[in-house]
């Protein structure tokens, strides 16, 4: 039975997608068919739609498909500083996200442990966390550019600062809610603090910590696109900005699609990891 549900869901997904493509195709076909013909010299100077008195329409699924194919068939070319393949742009973004995220893990997990294990530290740091948490990552950007004086480090810093909070809070929460029974057992066995942290608390809190990491990586991937649009240079966000500058919607749609797919892949990796450390009770 579950297998057939899966199959039916798949068929339904494909169906929805097909309907969507068809609707898109039909919707954009209508525009730009004005009858007013103009002077051929003028027509040569403007876009096809503008020549007949219309506006350049939204691109249809066929145009977008062609663009996607063009980008995917040659993703790793480098033709100068400002013209690189989409694969290279994605790699830049991923490298930034993973660096910032890695730094955040290094800071957030130990700090979260500390906060989770000590009421005092928790109470002392709580106001800071509450104030820092809701700040939009991009609000940090000008400050980072000004103080760090390096745009690629600044975007890594922004990723770092925005991935920090969910991990910190989840780690603290996971550590604080380890079952009292287990801690009591550890105490009666006179386990040292390090051993207690690694053999009792870490395994117990691991699923919560990884959930925090999963949220963080999702946010980091959201933020990198915006950060790169702002700072420019390289990365998929810069690619979007650059195609925006070219007013090329087909390229933007291609980028959106790829951003979604990569984000999904990142999320799936952490979901797998979470499942791996979850234990049945």
């Amino acid at each position: 039975m579950p297998r057939s549900v899966g199959l039916r869901a798949f068929v339904l997904s494909v169906l929805i997608f097909a309907v969507f493509l068809l609707a898109w195709h039909v919707a954009v076909r209508g525009g730009g068919a004005g009858a007013a013909t103009v002077d051929p010299e003028y027509a040569k100077l403007v876009g096809a739609a503008a020549a007949t008195g219309g506006q350049t329409p939204m691109p249809g699924p066929i145009d977008v498909g062609r663009t996607i194919w063009k980008h995917l068939s040659d993703p790793f070319y480098v033709r100068g500083t400002n013209d690189m393949g989409i694969g290279i742009q994605l790699a830049y973004s991923l490298a930034r996200v993973l660096t910032g995220f890695g730094l955040a893990v290094v800071v957030a997990v130990p700090l979260g442990f500390l906060i989770g294990m000590s009421q005092l530290v928790y109470r002392a740091l709580d106001p800071f966390i509450q104030v820092m948490k809701p700040i939009s990552p991009l609000a940090w950007m000008p400050l980072a550019l000004y103080t760090i004086k390096d745009s690629s480090l600044s975007s890594i810093f922004v990723i770092f600062i925005c991935s920090l909070w969910p991990m910190l809070i989840n780690t603290a929460f996971g550590v604080a809610s380890v079952r009292k029974d287990w801690l009591n057992v550890a105490r009666t066995l006179e386990v040292g603090p390090f051993r207690k942290a690694f053999t009792v608390i870490l395994p117990a809190a691991a699923p919560t910590i990884l959930t925090g990491m999963r949220i963080s990586v999702g946010i980091a991937w959201l933020v990198i696109v915006a950060a790169e649009m702002l700072v420019g240079g390289t990365g998929i966000g810069y690619f979007v900005w650059n195609q925006w500058n070219n007013l090329s919607l087909t390229d933007i749609i291609t980028a959106i699609l790829l951003i979604g797919l990569v984000g999904m892949a990142l999320d799936q990796v952490l979901a797998r990891l979470t499942r791996f450390v979850t234990y049945p009770e």
Binding site: Y42, A50, K149, M229
Partner: protein, 460 residues
Amino acid sequence: MALFDNPFTAANRLGRGCVCGRHGSAREHEAALRTEAFEAGQASEESRYGRVVEQAVMRALFPEDGRRRAFLKAVGASTAAAALATVFPLGAASEALAQTGPIEKKDLKVGFIPITCATPIIMAHPLGFYSRHGLNVEVVRTAGWAVIRDKTINKEYDAAHMLAPMPIAMTMGAGSNPIPYAVGAIENINGQAITLATKHKDKRDPRDWKGFRFAVPFDYSMHNYLLRYYLAEAGIDPDRDVQIRSVPPPEMVANLRADNIDGFLGPDPFNQRAVFDGVGFIHILSKELWDGHPCCAFAASRDFVTTLPNTYRALLKSIIDATAHAQKAENRKAIAEAIAAPNYLNQPVTVLEQILTGTYADGLGQVKRDPNRIQFDPFPWDSFAVWILTQMKRWGQIKGDVDYAGIARQVFLATDAGAMMKELGLTPPTATTKTFAVMGKAFDPAKPEDYVASFAIKRA
């Protein structure tokens, strides 16, 4: 005046003939001058600069050429040179002008915003102007004016394409911390336009524009000042009767399409792009408001200019060289093709060609021809800076007493640009200020305060 002639030879005339008296026509003279400058380039740099200085000194001492000749005949060339050297430190002066020496830093980064105003900065890369002057320059496309500003302040960029008023604002600390900046050369003159949404094609009189929403690229931009000027001339108060927003140029076209703004005064290619995409029409070219107005600039920090003088000179030389190349109508098509590539402007070639050649569709069904739609003239007139300052004062961006001439001289390095133009065989203007008219109203750079006071609509 053949630039590198020996002024100590009686046979040579330094005076004001054709200009030098050795050629039949001005054109012939210019051509000869260019070959000469080129040949002189092969000769040792030092003696070349020496000649320029000696000429200037001799010309100052003997305003009349006849007297100089008489003097030389009487005492002999070498005596004259020696006598001159005792009263005037010729060596030091030529050294100051030449500053010969190795380029301190060959690998440079220059930031640009992908608009046609940056044409000389960009095309110098594919067409080899940087390498011709011994530099390895990377031109980096940048996402916005504020980012360009921050990246040059951070020294990620050695120099950058900026809006002409930006270095002035930065030097004065308007909108950022005060950091001394310098404009080495003007990138382009003219080349902007007011574009309106197609639905306003019957409202061609600016007096009907009350309640309109406009976009300009940056607060400290010629676009902002020209649009405000144009509106105010029509009796529209730009702060009360309309809305003026700061919007990145590509978004101007998108906002026009989305009916979110009624028009913009923006840089090309976006005026032409709005026409190309069928969302707007070109109401008026900015050259019709002020023919020959500056727009964008090639800027670097004072720090860069003084600590890496040879590098700066080589860079400025490449830019001025490229600017002169871009000014020639016969090169424009090739330039359009070179800078349309994804690595540079990333735009359709036909759009860029229309801007650079001046044969363009206006968005109302007509093909217009104006070869001077955009022009390239590197000379940073001090009076341009003074005019910009008067408008900053007029609209309340700067307050109190302004040292117009002082700031203009400090930021717009007209003398350096002039010297560089001479070296390249171009003829720079002899003065650094000039008068001009904006929308028919004369501007006298010597009386900036009177100019500000003369406007009916102002915030100062």
